[in-house]
Subunit: 473 residues, 2 copies
């Protein structure tokens, strides 16, 4: 394996930008935009990383148009940055070298619903809520639910998951085939629509989580699931975070097919109560959901209650009606906004470690101590059934000492997770923010395999440069 | 993306083989073997493809020893062919250019069982039955079950699945991390042990199904599942294959979490009755299994029975005791041997198409007509819950006309599956036999992405050359 020095991305100069803008405007008219506000908005993500705006934003309507744009960029060696809803958390849509942002939000077709096969073909700009809205009448749903109403293209690119992953898996498990545009502009389809295949390298899974650095995904075929006959949600409170974690571990170990099991620490509950006008007891809380038949859910509820009571659970509140459940889950999905309310004026940094579930209680306990010792304001929320949790750190961005303290905390947290055989990112992706942890997590050899793949598929380094892989000299 | 002409594998000459054998014998003593019988045995697979023996067979005991062997091979540009149990079906372990066969059957350690995390770390030579034997006392099991008692390394390399895939997924879904040796001899670990991660390209999934053409997998961390509280198996007979298929489709669509649903056509039932001393009615048959709680299985059984009766099912036979269930499933796993009994002296060709389930009944019906019109003796068995089925074709290998007729049938079958948006291989892999279908199935662009990856990771083309990807000039 020959790892060459990374090709540095070219930063187009003013003349090159003007020429590219002119070519794109000629082809796409007012779907090519260079105004400052639109450019700035496309370098903005839900992150604390500084905005790095692209030079040009263009809005294709079809895969063929994406191909045309990329061909122009390839000829001029222009950076290409794909954009969905801008809700990523690690600077994925920043343009450190300028370039063309391909905004996929006009690609909103639901191309086909195959009810018999339990799959759907969508364009990259469709959001998860739009998809589920479309599917509802058919009795089907798509379970992956990151906090934001993200686009399916963006969720594919970051290997997203969310609250349902403990039962339904992540994007890796729910993508059947992809249509994507390579750095040359060539359009490929990565697989057929069969449920499984052993036909060569798994290019579908290679593109899932590749964050736009190998190709731009334009169309996605997803597995669907039937809306369960019966759904029951509940919250219950625990004396300590450890008791809530131990309940989770025991629930998973006994093979209970729980659909969702989310932990909120006391501070997070307080933030949610304030933001979402709820009145949950302000102590560690599990928010759970059960899917199945009438009988099956009844049985799951009984078994879970038994386990939770063993660990001191109290204040069970059950939500059976859709509107009550939705209210709870909307509050869960709004934790990002809720924590922002904890400290007006602060920006939120959302961490994302994931560890084997046997280490979860330890990892959260050490992290809680670290938050306290660092004097940081931070709340914890987690997809604990997967061993994945987030700290929402509230940081004043005009205080360099506070930023430095947060950065040191992030480094300790990543090192802690890796020491416990975990990952620095369970579901947010690498982007710009997590590049520095990958070598400790995966080793130089595995990183070099990634670099070899990147160099082979994108030799000119035009695809979302400056993300995922640190350059080598 | 620059696809260079493929590097032709070097076929070592007699002097090079003698030098390599001497170097390996010096290091590994009698764990390096060059006798004709052992070499022939290692080019033998359960396939109709001609045996192509390696020059040398070596039996490492550790990952480090695999690395040493590969370093020697890399220096001499010797082909490297990994070998598990030799039960692959498409010539995967053939050595068309000679070289060193790395037989992993001495690597049988079960490195760690993490009961709390529901995972296990095994060396590549452990077989699926050995693993489940080891796990039984702990109340855990590993569900993936190709017909043969294959090695976990081989199952990883071919992205195997089997009868449980409809509920538990394939190897792609059940591998957490891999230890593997690159063509340079470097040892990598592809991921941490956390249940999910978004940390860069999914090198784990890239190696699953890569058939030893990118690296030799030496250690695998697998997801485990709790042995269900209650298991119930059953057979039932149908007036036609279509009725059995329609029952399957309806079962999947209603979201019934069936663990196994296997179709045998009348000829296959007859073969199994003879081979396994059973007395199932000789008409199309579904063999099903339900996993869950006492209550849950009862409910599944009722719902499935209702559906099956709608499509004319009769002769339900229930198997609840482990020995009765095992007898049924052993018969299912022995279909390869059973079909061989249909036509003494014949060799079996096992096909492996997989289509979206909505097309399954059509695909099987057309294939049945084709078998009849071709005058071939062939039985059908399938993992129909996944849309995957196999024809066991009984061919006299001394009759060129019969072989030619079978080859034309295989081409029509692959084309039919691809036309129905399916794949030429659901679980057996590409090996030598299916290379010619990949371009029709995936397109030149996706194949070129695979070639770029192969060339980047294995530039000298020493890893299992002549498999998966046809060379380009």
């Amino acid at each position: 394996m020959n790892i060459k020095a990374s090709v540095p991305p070219v930063r187009p100069d003013a003349a090159a930008v003007a020429a590219m803008a002119s070519a794109l405007q000629q082809r796409f008219g007012n779907r090519c935009v260079t105004s400052n506000s639109v450019r700035e908005q496309h370098g903005h993500t839900l992150s604390w990383l500084p905005v790095q705006a692209p030079d040009i934003v263009v809005y294709p309507q079809t895969t063929e148009e994406v191909s045309e744009i990329i061909k122009l960029c390839a000829a001029a060696r222009f950076p290409v940055i794909p954009y969905g809803t801008g809700t990523s958390l690690e600077g994925h849509v920043n343009a450190p070298n300028g370039g063309v942002c391909i905004d996929l939000t006009l690609m909103k077709r639901i191309v086909a619903v195959h009810e018999e096969d339990l799959d759907v073909v969508v364009e990259a700009g469709v959001t998860r809520k739009e998809l589920n809205e479309h599917l509802r009448d058919k009795g089907l749903f798509f379970p992956i639910d990151p906090g934001a109403d993200a686009s399916i293209g963006g969720m594919t690119a970051t290997r997203a998951s969310g609250t349902n992953a403990v039962r339904y898996g992540t994007m890796k498990d729910n993508v059947i085939q992809l249509k994507a545009v390579l750095p040359s502009g060539e359009i490929i389809t990565t697989a057929r629509r069969a449920k499984k295949s052993s036909a060569g390298y798994d290019i579908t899974r290679l593109l899932v989580g590749s964050e736009g650095t190998l190709a731009v995904v334009t169309e996605i075929t997803l597995r669907l699931h039937g809306i369960p006959e019966k759904i029951m949600a509940a919250t219950c409170s625990f004396p300590s975070v450890k008791d809530a974690c131990d309940t989770t571990i025991m629930t998973i170990q006994t093979g209970l097919p729980i659909a969702r099991i989310e932990l909120l620490d006391a501070l997070q509950v307080k933030a949610c109560n304030a933001y979402s006008k709820l009145d949950m007891p302000e102590q560690p809380l599990l928010l759970v959901e059960f899917h199945g038949t009438e009988q099956g859910v009844k049985e799951q509820v009984e078994r879970f209650s038994d386990i939770a009571h063993e660990f001191g659970a109290s204040e069970f509140q059950w939500a059976e009606k859709a509107e009550d459940r939705n209210r709870l889950w909307q509050a869960r999905h709004d934790v990002y906004w809720a924590t922002l309310g904890l400290r007006p004026g602060a920006k939120s940094i959302s961490t994302d470690v994931c560890v084997p579930i046997s280490r979860l209680a330890d990892c959260i306990a050490e992290t809680n101590d670290d938050i306290r010792d660092s004097g940081i304001v931070g709340a914890i929320v987690g997809h604990v059934g997967d061993g994945n949790f987030h700290c929402g750190l509230m940081i004043m961005m005009d205080d360099p000492a506070e930023i430095a303290s947060a950065e040191r905390f992030l480094e300790r947290l990543a090192a802690r997770a890796i020491r416990m055989d975990g990952t620095c990112t369970g579901e947010h992706g690498v982007g710009q923010g997590k590049m520095k942890y990958l070598e400790a997590e995966l080793g130089a050899g595995t990183l070099n395999v990634m670099r070899a793949i990147k160099q082979a598929i994108d030799p000119d380094n035009i695809m979302n440069p400056g993300k995922v892989l640190k350059p080598v000299a």
